[in-house]
């Protein structure tokens, strides 16, 4: 169990959205305000970690043929629990995310990690995998939200940050955010589906560029070392 390696993988080299290219529906749909992004990201993180731990705990006793069905049932259970808790205690988030909370059930990230990782790893490793992959996902959501909201409405931290009486975080979605430039100068199309597709495409392109560059650097380094040896 190599926590540092899992951390780097979850956030960068094996980032669920930017590298594994899964779980994209929600990423584009709800990233219109920072409140939505952080809320969704943390919900997915909690559900992912709980499911990872549960699946890993029972991995030796479930029959192989129906394992996917059992994964789905467990995930549906945790999603419903989070859904009910959000409706009861953070109704603003529940309203803002709407149908995308129950849709976390079919978020490929959760089933993907259960299938690819938790089946073969200990509870501890699965726990950290859930946390780090969830963090990677949340990070992507936050970056997308900031980008889309800034260009779309000139705002930072809509729904989450309130600077009227000193800086504070509003858990009920009422924070007006920091208006960086007047809303009338924003390209509100960025908050529409067009902006969603475009921002995600640009982010993945940036990630691919960074990974390729880093891979090239590694290759050059390995080659240089080989030449030194010779």
């Amino acid at each position: 169990m190599n926590i540092k390696k899992q951390f780097k993988e979850g956030l960068i080299t094996n980032n669920p959205v930017l590298v594994q290219l899964i779980g994209m529906c929600a990423t584009m749909a709800i990233t219109t305000t920072l409140f939505n992004g952080v809320g969704m990201g943390l919900s997915v993180l909690i559900i992912l970690t709980c499911c990872n731990v549960a699946v890993s705990a029972i991995r030796k006793i479930i029959p192989n043929e129906i394992r996917l069905a059992i994964f789905v049932v467990i995930i549906a259970g945790f999603v419903t629990i989070v859904d009910l808790l959000l409706k009861a205690y953070i109704p603003a988030l529940s309203d803002a995310l709407g149908v995308f909370i129950p849709l976390i059930v079919v978020n490929c990230i959760i089933i993907g990690r259960a299938e690819a990782f938790c089946q073969k790893n200990t509870v501890g490793a699965s726990f950290f995998d859930g946390i780090f992959q969830g963090l990677g996902y949340t990070l992507v959501l936050i970056v997308m939200c900031i980008f889309r909201e800034l260009i779309g409405s000139g705002r930072f931290g809509g729904g989450l940050i309130d600077i009227a009486n000193g800086f504070r975080l509003t858990m009920d979605g009422t924070g007006a955010g920091i208006q960086i430039f007047p809303e009338t100068f924003g390209a509100s199309i960025m908050t529409l589906p067009f902006g969603g597709f475009l921002t995600l495409g640009l982010l993945i392109a940036v990630m691919q560029y960074a990974l390729k560059k880093s891979a090239k650097k590694q290759e050059l380094k390995a080659q240089a070392e080989k030449e030194v040896d010779e």
Binding site: L68, V72, D83, V99, P102, V106, P193, F194, G195, L202
Partner: protein, 194 residues
């Protein structure tokens, strides 16, 4: 009643297209659309599953979950129904249209995790649609998905021959093209027939 059905249909296909307006069904949209034939096959399978899932889940919701005040089991019940349905579609296709079965490959069982199928079922509940409206929304939602995926496949076949920066290879250039398609579909917004 008829005007309601027509406005739901047009809404699902054009005005609030499942992919370009509501973002439901993006994973297979991006993963399965490299060729027009595969896209058409996938689209038809999704139409079938969405229609059938809408109908069955409405019945289960109305006569089982709501009647027994078990609404909190909606997500669990719906996803189980969809998973079972996709299994049956898979078995059916394997026997009767094996070429389509092998062409769709891994993407057929992935219809279970297609946001559009679970999404349409949940939206039917949210919008309080009756049986006929749910069935229509399911089928026309699937048709909207199919329209989007076939259009996109034809665009992707052209992209293969264009020049684009190396870091955009794969998904990024597809997403940018999808953004432009979404822009086009925005032209339908606000359309009211009746």
């Amino acid at each position: 009643m008829l005007t309601n059905i027509i406005s739901i249909s047009l809404g699902a296909i054009l005005i609030n297209n499942f992919i370009f307006s509501q973002f439901l069904g993006c994973c297979p949209f991006l993963g399965c659309s490299s060729k027009v034939e595969t896209a058409t096959g996938m689209g038809l399978a999704v139409v079938f599953v969405m229609g059938l899932a809408s109908a069955i889940c409405w019945v289960i919701n109305e006569y089982l979950l709501v009647a027994l005040h078990l609404e909190f089991l909606q997500t669990l019940a719906f996803i189980l129904v969809i998973a079972a349905l996709v299994q049956f579609v898979e078995m059916f296709l394997k026997k009767s249209v094996p070429s389509l079965y092998s062409a769709l490959g891994i993407y057929l069982p992935l219809i279970t995790t297609n946001c559009a199928v679970l999404g349409v079922v949940l939206l039917n509940v949210q919008n309080n649609y009756n049986f006929l409206e749910s069935l229509v929304y399911g089928i026309t939602g699937g048709l909207g998905f199919m329209l989007a995926i076939v259009l996109f496949a034809s665009v992707r076949e052209r992209i293969e021959f264009s020049d684009y920066p190396e870091c955009f290879e794969g998904f990024p250039i597809c997403l940018v093209s999808a953004a432009l398609l979404a822009l086009a579909f925005m032209g339908f917004s606000g359309m009211k027939i009746f």
